[in-house]
């Protein structure tokens, strides 16, 4: 297992370097001038040139990239071109919000999809199963902003169960934090839950036809026991894979959800930074996201080993 971890971590450095280089290239390809975000919409060409000169944004890309890598090695993520504040401070302030929303959405998605998939797969083709499949198709085909707006209308405006917007830090008030986090997380979770449900249900239906399940049933074990203890685990591979991959989708989804619900997370920052061509901030965001993505996928690999003893023996 130690070798396994070591080999995975060895991948991390080149992955992050490649990601950062590609990000720098992509941000550089976006047409536009970062000085506009600093000077506003009523500047002059001379003022733009002066600001670009002062910021070094006119330097060639290799110069800027090597300088950025050098700074990162020293633990300096640089300063946002737009806000003049340290990138790392901004990231650390916003990361907990996005992580909480994404994690809560992931948990909600699993919490909703796994029991429903078990029930649906237990008796496939029933009215309940068909209704759930219909609902999941609807949710998968609905964009997250539409789901969010419908949820807001029902739960925030009509019944006033949740606030329509706003954020309270976990450190300030746990219950208020959850009160504000649940609606955006649910908006993000429903689409994911629908995907998880369909994948897990399909795998469960297949597994439930396997000989070992029939044998378990023949031994007189209760259906619930067979479902949870015998069928769920071997049916979870696809679910674990897509749940790991969905981190990217969830973080991507927070872009919309954060703007809609007024949450101070990475999503809003990403949009604003890209539009302003604030490449140092974009680099920082992408680095953090890539790091998170690699770590989660490392976790997924570990989970594979736990789920399937054959993989443990092989490694």
């Amino acid at each position: 297992m130690t070798r396994f971890f070591a080999s995975r971590i060895a991948y991390l450095v080149p992955v992050l370097l490649l990601v950062s280089l590609l990000t720098m290239l992509m941000v550089d390809l976006i047409p536009g001038d970062p000085a506009v975000a600093i000077l506003g919409a009523n500047a002059s060409a001379e003022e733009l040139a002066a600001v670009n000169e002062a910021l070094g944004t006119n330097d060639p890309l290799p110069t800027r990239y090597s300088q950025w890598v050098g700074d990162i090695v020293r633990g300096d993520f640089g300063q946002s071109l737009r806000t003049r504040q340290p990138v790392i401070d901004e990231l650390l302030a916003r990361l907990p919000v996005t992580l909480e929303i994404a994690a809560l959405a992931g948990l909600l998605a699993l919490g909703l999809s796994v029991p429903l998939a078990l029930i649906a797969a237990h008796r496939p083709g029933t009215r309940f199963d068909r209704a759930l499949r219909g609902a999941s198709s609807t949710l998968i085909s609905s964009p997250s902003f539409l789901t969010a707006l419908l949820l807001v209308y029902a739960l925030a405006v009509t019944w006033e169960v949740f606030p329509p917007t706003g954020w309270v830090r976990l450190s300030e008030d746990v219950s208020e934090n959850l009160h504000h986090a649940l609606l955006p997380s649910l908006a993000l979770a429903l689409g994911e839950a629908a995907v998880y449900f369909r994948v897990l249900r399909a795998d469960l239906v297949t597994t439930l036809q396997e000989d070992f399940v029939l044998a378990a049933r023949a031994r007189g074990l209760r259906s619930r026991y067979v479902l949870v203890r015998h069928a769920l685990r071997p049916s979870s591979f696809s679910l674990v894979t897509i749940a790991g991959l969905s981190l990217g989708r969830l973080i991507g989804g927070t872009v919309i959800v954060e703007v809609l619900f007024g949450l101070p997370g990475l999503g809003q920052l990403t949009v604003q930074s890209i539009l302003a061509k604030d490449y140092l901030m974009v680099q920082g965001i992408v680095m953090f996201t890539a790091l998170g993505y690699v770590i989660v996928n490392l976790g997924v690999d570990v989970l594979y080993h736990q789920l399937d003893p054959r993989l443990r023996r092989a490694s």
């Binding site: 536009g32 003049r84 007024g262």
Partner: protein, 559 residues
Amino acid sequence: MRRSKIRALAVLVAFGLVGAACGSDDDGGAGSDAAPVTESPAATTAAAPDDGDTGSTSPASPGTTAAPAAPADDGEPQSGGDLTFLTTNEIRGLDPTMISGGSSTGTTIANAIYDALMMNDNATGELVLGTAESITSDDGVVWELMIRSGIEFTDGTPYDAEAVKFNWERHQNPDVGSQHRGPASNIETMEVVDPLTLRLTLRSPNLQFPRTIARYLAYIASPTAIQDLGEGLATNPVGAGPFVFDKWERDSQLVVVRNAGYWNAPLPYLDSITFRPLPDDSQRKNTFETGDDMVLYTTVPSLAQSIADGDDSVTMAHTVLNGGASLIFNVRKPPFDDVRLRQAFAAAIDIPDLIEVIQGEDGIPAITLFEQTSPFYADVPLSQYDPERAQDLFDEVAAEKGPITFTLSGLQGTLSQTTAEYLQAALAAYGVEAAVEIRTLAEGAPKVYAGEFEAQLWGFSFGDPEPDLAEAFIPGSPRNFTGFDDAEAGEAFLAARASDDVDARREEYLKVQEIFAEEVPQLLYQRYQAFNVAKGNVHGVTAYEDGNVITAEIWLESA
């Protein structure tokens, strides 16, 4: 729109103690000449000599008039309470060098934290003095700015001439990257005459220079804090305003609390204000409708209307600016160096129909340069829908120069896209082919600055024509993006700038409007509107310039 619900406050109600506490009908006006000034009544009480006539004694001093009173039905202001102010966007930072003069949100917040030296009143064409006691000049080159005595920043640093000089020198410093380096660079030298008097020498005569101060240089931060915090001032500002910065979580909330030592006591009335940026219109509306003690800012008329439709108790401060959204032409190069083509555009587009399409019935077409409420308004239409004349002009140009094709550029935003598509379709009916290009601000703005466009959807709204309108059309100005170089218009702008009389300025701007109607450097089409919608128990919400609110005057009526 149901006018009965809207207090059409396209005016500035001065930022002093208004209503019962002050003599709002007091006419402090002597010398109503250059860049006229409205004295804050409460400020007069607090800091002025007994005759109450401050800032108007010098021969060329801006004149002084009384501030309008708060609406009578607002009743006696009550102290206390916490307000939530829903805004459309987050600002870059709280450093005065980062706060845009044209940003309603930024200016409203800056007023709360820093107060302002002076402000422009769109409706009367006058200036309103704040922390400045007076500003005077005989020749428009040498100015004397007097600061009110006894003001301190919340860190105890004196708010004096030295502080103003320090702040303005910082704007001028190219290493700081101030948004207002251009306006500040009009000042050649600054000399502290005494602790409260700053003498400015401008690079060229400008008797309207106080308007530039009001628009771009009005916010003064504590020099001590600037030196201690450096760029940290952007997230931890120290001013002398009615409120003190408490905390700021970007894209979530900015909290300011009452400044107990505010120079213009008993203002402010509120204990605290939480500014919350909510970019999504529908969510801002939902938050407003489900919350208490709130003000909502929007520039979308239909949003304001839908809130008013759902709640009879809400009030609105409705601001309509001069100028507005327009299609600016690059007159330096083909095809729009041909005035016939520009004139054809002014006749080809049915502006009211365009506004109906892009903003519905609540949009306001912009046919004249100034709004009717402006002291500079003249009934000189800048466009007149006449399809036959337009077709004749297009045919004439096409016969001479071949088919008319051009690139119609716009900046990202729903209205830009819709407007561009409308214009594209409308012009196609005349045989004119427009290729639409919509770009981000970061991409599109530099092209405009560099003159790399043919026709561009652009906004230029303004309260007073100084400095923004003048800078946009004076030949040789770095902000003259159209390249319009009409010498007569330039002279009229400079004559208005050199005048200290509203009537004389009106005459000069009349000439400008007539030239614009003939030369069509831009096709104005839509007025910008700003709405500050308040819950029924929120009083004292008035707006000026871009819909900026003077938060010190807001008070909550207890249940």
